[in-house]
């Protein structure tokens, strides 16, 4: 089993929390994993990404080679497109459709969505909206994680649920419950699109 995931978005959107939940789930299940992330200057409202690699065999490179990512998980639709060279031919994009427009030359939203529509395998929906409906706007990243579960290979729904309990446990039961609800809502959206 080997799965390569690119997580992306805009600094501050919470992609690193998604990464830590999946990583925790992988490690608990005896899998090898590597997760490269960006800190420092790049976090100030710029584009951010994390490479997450999971395998049942030792992993060498911290970075995913181009054309080998099984899934690109993005909290922002333009950011999803930025990492297309890394996506494998059979790979899937799971992305938020809600834009984050903090640059003066942000393109027309329709143009971005039409580019995503062209992709052979994708899940796209308004993650922010779903998060607000079922949990809280802050849980948008976990909704997106839920929608990604069908594409995470050997990482099951149960494993991710446990990962959420492990990562958010110290913040209290209410936070865990809210995130589990967000996760379930995201998964339901992806299942409905199949």
């Amino acid at each position: 089993m080997k799965i390569d995931i690119i997580l992306c978005g805009v600094g501050g959107q919470g992609i690193l929390s998604i990464a830590s939940v999946i990583a925790e789930a992988a490690l608990k299940n005896g899998l090898y994993m590597k997760q490269a992330e960006v800190h420092g200057m790049s976090q100030r409202g710029g584009d951010v990404q994390s490479n997450l690699r999971i395998s049942d065999k030792p992993i060498y490179s911290d970075l995913i080679p181009k054309g080998e990512a099984d899934v690109v998980i993005s909290l922002e639709p333009m950011e999803a497109l930025r990492y297309l060279p890394y996506l494998s031919k059979e790979g899937t994009i799971v992305t938020n459709s809600a834009t984050f427009e903090n640059i003066p030359d942000y393109p027309q939203k329709e143009e971005i969505l039409s580019q995503i529509e062209k992709m052979p395998s994708k899940v796209i929906f308004d993650v922010d909206q779903v998060a607000k409906e079922v949990a809280s706007a802050r849980a948008a990243n976990i909704v997106l994680l839920g929608a990604s579960i069908p594409f995470l290979g050997g990482i099951s729904y149960d494993m991710v649920q446990q990962g959420i309990r492990d990562i958010f446990g110290r913040k209290g039961e209410a936070v865990v419950e809210m995130n589990l609800k967000a996760l379930a809502a995201g998964k339901a959206v992806a299942d409905g699109m199949k």
């Binding site: 994993m33 409202g45 992993i59 911290d62 054309g67 297309l84 494998s88």
Partner: protein, 532 residues
């Protein structure tokens, strides 16, 4: 013990604690910051009374660590690669004095400049100081090296340099810990002259250090971190350094036909390399950063040996290694199917909405544009982002503290108005001495210390000068009537603008301190207060 999910930085921090560390000394700098932060947050470190408070700059850090080594304790100094420039005097001379307690200098290099102004390779510093260098290829290796490095340093009698790069420092993997070692008791150097680098003593130390090179090379040759693997295809021999080894193996997941020498400890094991060169038609050097090994090989090997790497264009001359560019070096084609649609725009980092630096630049821009030939010299920190739209407010960003001294030099050269913009943490790091130069010459400069009461860019670490900026300025000799403080908020714009105008027009040194807490740390503090 079971595997723990740790960043490379965190693995190093945990290993240092486990290896009997007594003090970590550091100034924050990406990608090294998380090492010290991890030790600051560690309950075990607290229990062991490990020093972990931030230092004013890398030089004070390096010297304090040397002092701790002097009394026999184990010390770690951490910095980003450009910090090595700041502490170079202390660092190179620590090679001359040698150590008593184990001393490890960690330099985190940033190839591709994810968050830096250059991609200098710290291994050159290690060679310059003639001390052993370790360069891990994985988080576990980083842990293991750090765990053994204090003892190695004590055995060699020299500091050791541990060199990592961003992709190791900021990548997480499962790491297995080892048993905790005791901390050292206090003890003094056996040779009372060891740390007194008078020329007569220094000559002796220098000869000892030169003599020790043989031992260091022998250690590299027998090191388990430097691994040779035989290969059947001798058309090429591969020398892969640090994480370069990972990208090599990533490209040969089913096995590699060429002989491979993995290098993770320096000085270079010369004999192993010569043997490999003799057996192979050509050598390929894969190293992240500058062509440190490749350049040395030209001196170590016969001119007839073909050496490939960053210098002959087999690998790119600049930028970090990736599995893709290493694959290309072997002629492997990219598996990319999709390209980035042209609709995608760059999304550069920006100052946060509500950031105090925004208000400072808005007011400053309005005033300086009243003058024909103004220039604004800036510095290293969040406020460097004032170079971007919509502000486009600054004309320089070079090194920590350079804003003040460059403004002085430009004023000396006839520029008016000559303005410096520097942050509070950068000011105490390396700006204070430049301010003294300005005062001693009554230079015609305006210095804006944009004080957000933290070291913001690296994530909000304590700033050495918090609460002391005015007294430092007055102590250095700034005239009280030309040291002015203001809260940078919209409601104070007019006041701030006239303050800037008045101080530009004053022929001498003026300091304006716009002070408002970083909105990121303010939010953090608010959250903490709500919890209590």
């Amino acid at each position: 013990m079971s595997k723990q999910l740790l960043l490379g930085d965190e693995a190093i921090a945990q290993a240092a604690i486990d290896a009997g560390l007594s003090g970590v000394y550091a100034y924050p700098g990406t990608p090294s910051t998380e090492i010290t932060e991890y030790i600051q947050a560690s309950a075990e470190a607290k229990e062991r009374n490990i020093h972990s408070r931030w230092c004013t700059n890398e030089k004070t850090a390096m010297e304090a660590a040397l002092g701790m080594s002097f009394v026999g304790k184990r010390a770690l100094v951490c910095m980003k690669h450009v910090g090595m420039n700041v502490c170079a005097d202390a660092f190179v001379n620590a090679g001359m004095t040698g150590v008593n307690g184990g001393l490890v200098v960690l330099a985190a290099d940033d190839p591709s400049m994810h968050s830096s102004q250059n991609e200098q390779d710290s291994r050159f510093y290690g060679k310059f100081a003639m001390i052993p260098i370790f360069e891990p290829s994985s988080q576990q290796e980083a842990y293991d090296m750090m765990y053994d490095a204090f003892e190695f340093s004590e055995r060699m009698g020299e500091p050791v340099l541990l060199r990592v790069v961003t992709r190791l420092a900021h990548s997480r993997a499962g790491v297995v810990r080892k048993a905790m070692k005791p901390q050292n008791e206090i003890s003094f150097p056996k040779d009372p002259k060891q740390f007194i680098l008078l020329p007569a003593n220094a000559r002796v130390r220098n000869r000892n250090l030169i003599e020790a090179q043989k031992t260091f090379i022998a250690e590299s040759a027998s090191s388990t971190y430097n691994k040779f693997a035989e290969g059947s295809d001798k058309s090429l021999g591969v020398i892969a350094c640090g994480i370069g080894y990972n990208y090599l193996m990533e490209n040969f997941r089913e096995g590699i036909p060429y002989p491979v020498l993995k290098i993770s400890q320096y000085p270079l094991p010369v004999d192993q390399i010569r043997a490999m060169a003799a057996a192979c038609d050509a050598l390929l050097v894969i190293e992240d950063g500058q062509p440190f090994v490749e350049e040395q090989l030209t001196g170590l090997l016969e001119p007839s040996v073909k050496i490939k790497g960053r210098l002959d264009g087999t690998l790119p001359r600049d930028g970090e290694l990736t599995p893709d560019n290493v694959g290309l070096a072997f002629g492997f084609k990219s598996k990319s199917t999709f390209t980035i649609p042209s609709v995608v725009q760059m999304r550069p980092p920006a100052l946060c909405q509500g950031c105090s630096h925004r208000d400072v630049y808005e007011a400053l821009n309005e005033v300086v544009r009243e003058y024909a030939d103004y220039k604004v010299f800036s510095d290293i920190g969040c406020y460097t982002l004032g170079a971007m739209a919509p502000f486009r407010a600054i004309h320089s960003c070079v090194d920590m503290g350079a804003s003040i001294t460059m403004a002085k030099g430009a004023a000396d050269g006839g520029l008016f108005p000559s303005v410096a913009v520097i942050g509070d943490s950068t000011f105490t790091h390396s700006g204070m001495t430049g301010l003294l130069d300005c005062i001693n010459e009554k230079s015609n400069v305006l210095i804006i210390i944009s004080d957000n009461e933290t070291t913001a860019m690296t994530g909000g670490q304590d700033s050495a000068g918090t609460g002391k900026i005015e007294s430092i300025c007055l102590g250095l000799g700034v005239e009280p009537e030309h040291l002015r403080v203001i809260i940078p908020l919209k409601k104070n714009y007019e006041e701030m603008k006239s303050m800037i105008r008045e101080e530009i027009n004053y022929n001498g040194v003026s300091v304006i301190v716009p002070r408002r807490e970083c909105i990121q740390t303010a939010a953090k503090h608010k959250k903490q207060a709500a919890k209590q």
